[in-house]
Structures are given as structure tokens and as C-alpha cells.
């Protein structure tokens, strides 16, 4: 049992159990907490898989951003703590059966997968953020081409043939749109207490 495997089992177990806990818990705050653990565990998985930047990014964005947002949402939409939003047993059953069916489908499909041809043995690290950034900026020439001594077999840089400048730009525009949209949607609105439309009140005179 290598350290790697132990780490994997711990982190995977944490993540999976936290995810199940999210499902099963009744209180929304507790669900948020368990979600926190899930997200943290996921970040750990990322680190285990060698995607350092991604793990850091997960922690920053998901845990530090999205989860906080979720918690804020929980805070802003509180209702009577005595209200218990539960569903019935039948619905639980249907949900479970359906989820298990889905799980079965996913497991069956992943079981049929073949090993990738050049899967590395043992842990390795994935390309760092420098390459990611270059790829995003669309620079296909991450490093100058090696001299005429030949190319070593693992020339990561030469293999980078794609660039993701367009999706990057799209994503930034998308984020702008989302920002505006969310800001608009969540603007402060007057709570409507009366059912009458505001334009007809002047025309009616004395209310009957």
C-alpha cells in the first residue's frame, strides 16, 4: 500500500462520504458544510492527480467563491426554522432507485473502458500553469524549438498544437454577461404587498 493509494482512499472516501451526506442531510446549513468538505476533498483529488493549479483554483473559486455564495444564499433565504422541507418516502424511493440506475449505467460504461495506451505508472504532475496560460493565450510555441540534435521523446511543448484563445474570450464575455445578469436579477426590488396594479389606483377614486 503506497502512500499514494492511502491518500487516494482517504481523499476519495472523504469526498464520497461528504457527497452522500449532502444528499442525506435535512438541514441546509449542514448540507452546505458537507459540500464544503466535498469540494475540499475534490481539491485534494486534484492535487493528487498532479493538477496543482487546478486544485488551487478549485479551492479558491469553488470553496472560497461559490460556496460562500451558496452560504450567502442560504442566509438570505432563511425561513422559519420550524419548517422542515422534507419529501415523502415514496419520492425518496423513486429518487434513490433512479440514482442507483444512473450509477449502474455509469459504472457499466466506465467498466467497459479500455486502458489508455500510454498510461503512466505512478504519480506524475500535469503541465504547470505556465503551459496552461500559454495555451489559453494561444501561443503554440511555448518554448523555442529544440536544436537540431533531435527531439527527446517527451517534448511537451512541441505537442502543444492547440490554443484556447477563443473559448477564453468567450468565457470572459460570458462571465461579463453573467455578472450583469446576476446583478440585475438580484437587484433590490420593492416587495409587492398589495395585489392591485399601481397604474389603476388613480383611475378608480374611492376604493369600494
Amino acid at each position: 500500500m503506497s502512500v499514494y493509494a492511502v491518500l487516494f482512499y482517504v481523499l476519495a472516501g472523504l469526498t464520497a462520504l461528504s457527497a452522500v451526506a449532502v444528499v442525506l442531510t435535512t438541514s441546509i446549513v449542514r448540507a452546505a458544510t458537507w459540500l464544503l468538505f466535498t469540494l475540499a476533498g475534490t481539491a485534494g483529488i486534484f492535487f493528487l492527480l498532479g493538477a496543482d493549479f487546478l486544485g488551487a483554483g478549485q479551492l479558491l473559486i469553488y470553496v472560497g467563491g461559490t460556496l460562500v455564495l451558496v452560504v450567502f444564499g442560504v442566509m438570505l433565504t432563511t425561513q422559519d426554522p420550524r419548517l422542515n422541507l422534507q419529501i415523502g418516502v415514496a419520492e425518496w424511493l423513486i429518487g434513490l432507485v433512479t440514482s442507483l440506475a444512473l450509477l449502474g449505467v455509469l459504472v457499466v460504461s466506465l467498466a467497459g473502458l479500455q486502458e489508455p495506451p500510454d498510461a503512466p505508472e505512478g504519480p506524475r504532475s500535469l503541465p504547470p500553469s505556465r503551459q496552461l496560460g500559454a495555451v489559453l493565450l494561444g501561443d503554440t510555441r511555448a518554448t523555442p524549438v529544440a536544436p537540431l540534435t533531435g527531439t527527446p521523446q517527451l517534448n511537451y511543448y512541441a505537442r502543444v498544437r492547440v490554443h484556447y484563445l477563443l473559448p477564453f474570450e468567450l468565457l470572459s464575455v460570458h462571465l461579463l454577461v453573467v455578472l450583469i445578469g446576476a446583478a440585475y436579477l438580484a437587484r433590490a426590488k420593492r416587495r409587492r404587498v398589495d395585489a392591485q396594479p399601481p397604474t389603476s389606483s388613480s383611475a378608480q377614486g374611492v376604493a369600494p
Binding site: 452546505a32 493538477a51 451558496v70 450509477l103 495555451v135 436579477l185
Partner: protein, 102 residues
Amino acid sequence: MIDLNAYLFLGAILFTCGVCCLMTKRNAIGVLMGVELILNGATINFVAFAHFNPTFEIEGQIFALFVIALAAAEAAVALAIALNFYNNHDSIDVDRAEELKG
């Protein structure tokens, strides 16, 4: 040995938990949490493939990055919707949103 299938299985579990969360939560924020779980499961899959398939190492990370960014954006909008919903119905229960009931 910890190979690709293990990570994929983890991803599947997270996905399933997310779906189950969607199906069983009455709180809109809970539903949102399910969505996060789904997205996380998918991200784990992406990164696992990047790790175990060297030709996919850049792309996997890039996709995962995009997913994270989009998930965050989507969470923001979803929360805005949920807040609107809460303001209009004075409740965060999604069962109240049955105006389209046939």
C-alpha cells in the same frame, strides 16, 4: 492499484449524489448544491483523463478550468434566480413553483 477506473468511479459517485440531491431536495439552494456536485464529478473525470492520458493532459485541465469558471458563473445566476424566487413567493421551497402545473 489506483487506476483510471477508480477515479472515474469516484466521479460517478459524485455525479450520482448530485443527481440524487437534485431529485430529493426541496430547498432551492439544496438543488444548487446538487448541481455543484454534478459539476465536480465531471471535473474529476476530466482531470483523471488528463492524468492517465498524456495526449489529453493540457486539454483535460483546460476543460476542467472552464467548467469551474462556468460553474461559478452559473451558481451566481442560479442564486440570483433563487433569491428572486424567494422574494416573490416568500419561500424557498421549489414545490411552490408550480405555476406551470398542467
